[in-house]
Amino acid sequence: MSNKPIARILQSVLVNHFYQMNAGFFAFLFFVLFGVVKGGQLIDYHYSLIIAFLESPVIMAGVILAWTLYTLKCTNYLVKRILEPRQLFLTCLNHLSNKQLFAWMLLTQVQVFAPVWVYAAIATAVAIHLNLWAQAGTMVLANLVLIGVAARCYTSTIRHHGTDAFLGKWGFLRKWAALTGISLQNRFVKPVFSFAIIHLFRERKQMLLLTKVFTLLFLYGFIQLYEPYKPDPRPILLCFLLVVGSHSALIQQIRAFEREFLPFLRNLPMKIPIRFLHLLAMYALLFLPELLYVWMAYPLHFTLLEYPQIVLIVLALAAFLHSILLVYEMPSEDYLNSVFGMMAVLFFVLLYNPGILFFLLVLLIAYVFFHHHIYG
């Protein structure tokens, strides 16, 4: 096999797919890194950030931890992708020698790891410029190790396709989890609204974890740092606008799961309002941690009567995002434009404290979308 087809296949099947499916995550990252400061201050802002982690071992450790989490995200996603039944053809790469296969996987990881190593390369150049050789070496070493370990993981997955061989001695954990799963399944019948959430727990662990860590930390920071003069629901509603926006990539994953695994539900005689209630129950379950945690802000930030507004904004916006994904298989870019558009409009609307009727209206719009497009 010549090199060109291999490069093309790995590019389209693994790399492009990774970026497409995580477009929401990258758009959010881009916004945090480049959208929060004015254009003229961007270089100074990043230079200060780089200096901060070059000069503080604690911050440097935090940065390397973030890179490690990103590596886990990459490996989790790509290993799952390689093991999908329709990517079975990738086992044809087994005819390559270990070195060749590892080299291809290295190239794959270099591509999906680009957001990290490009930034790390700039930081390393700054470190060298400032004669901070230890920090420069640490960053180079961390990147090499993370890329190498991930590439090793992909190589092993292709070599031992469908088996737990690459887990080595930790394989028993998976077996134990499977056994525990069976014993629990003896007792409970899974309700329809839980299907997608179980899927996220099983297949999108890192994405779910990162999103939850971010949103809960964000709420924690807001509740700790902001003390209103009197209860005013608007700031907390704005927070939840961001919380739902942060879940946009997960909502996209839920739709992808529905498209692939749940078409059979369409043949079941379930009324559309019931299906919509299942949708709301699913998002209530997904946002349960945030909806419970926000009680830490009670009674300083909102009154008892305002809590339904918080629940309603979450359910209405999540149902709306879900419903627009029913319209057609929207490319990630269009979807993210819709998310940002919705957030921008709602930001200004929320400033005027529109009240619970407005959220009911958003929910109604979501239902209309859902009703018209649920069956294509």
Partner: protein
Amino acid sequence: MLQFRKVEKYYGAHLALTVPDLDLQKGMYWIQGENGSGKTTFLKMLAGLHPFKGEIFLAPGERGLSKSISEERSSEKPLSILNDRNEFLKSVNYAEAEPLYPPFLTAKDLVELYGATKKADIDAAKQQLEELHILDAYLQPVGTYSSGMVKKLSLVLAFMGNPDWILLDEPLITIDVAAVELVCKWINDWHARKGISFLISSHQSFASGLDFTGNIRVFDKTLHAAL
């Protein structure tokens, strides 16, 4: 009776299948056609899985009913898949050629879901699973099943409830010889005893002998009934 009126299926701008105005009386029909001719598309439209242009009606069924009830029901308005979707789907069950379920669901989850929505007898379904020798895996996730086991499960699900029509897309692929005979027996029995109609697409011949009412051929992107 199934009635098709100006039914067309497009994928984007591409016309995939045309169904001429057709009244399909109750019976057992064999749908034949080359790969990609539109057999599965036809069944999926009928099962409510694919949107389409036109309209499909289901006349109230007469199977197993006394003459007075039958006369009463025959005067009822036909069910439209677009306007009476819920009632329509209570009467039309479907098994896919290559069924795909979330791998973490168990047969128990699926049987109970179908039982609740189709108002079906769960014990009867478990009996069928036993006859197909997969009841032992009732509590295991379907991700651990072989393709034949998943296919058997999907067939049992298609027989649940009180359907007037059962649509089976390639029901015999991937299942073992004993299961083929058993499924053919079920089809014959349910048709003869319960008056249930079948639309069956298959490239395989039915050695066990299904007494087909007629054939439906799909070619030139058009459905042709030879009744």
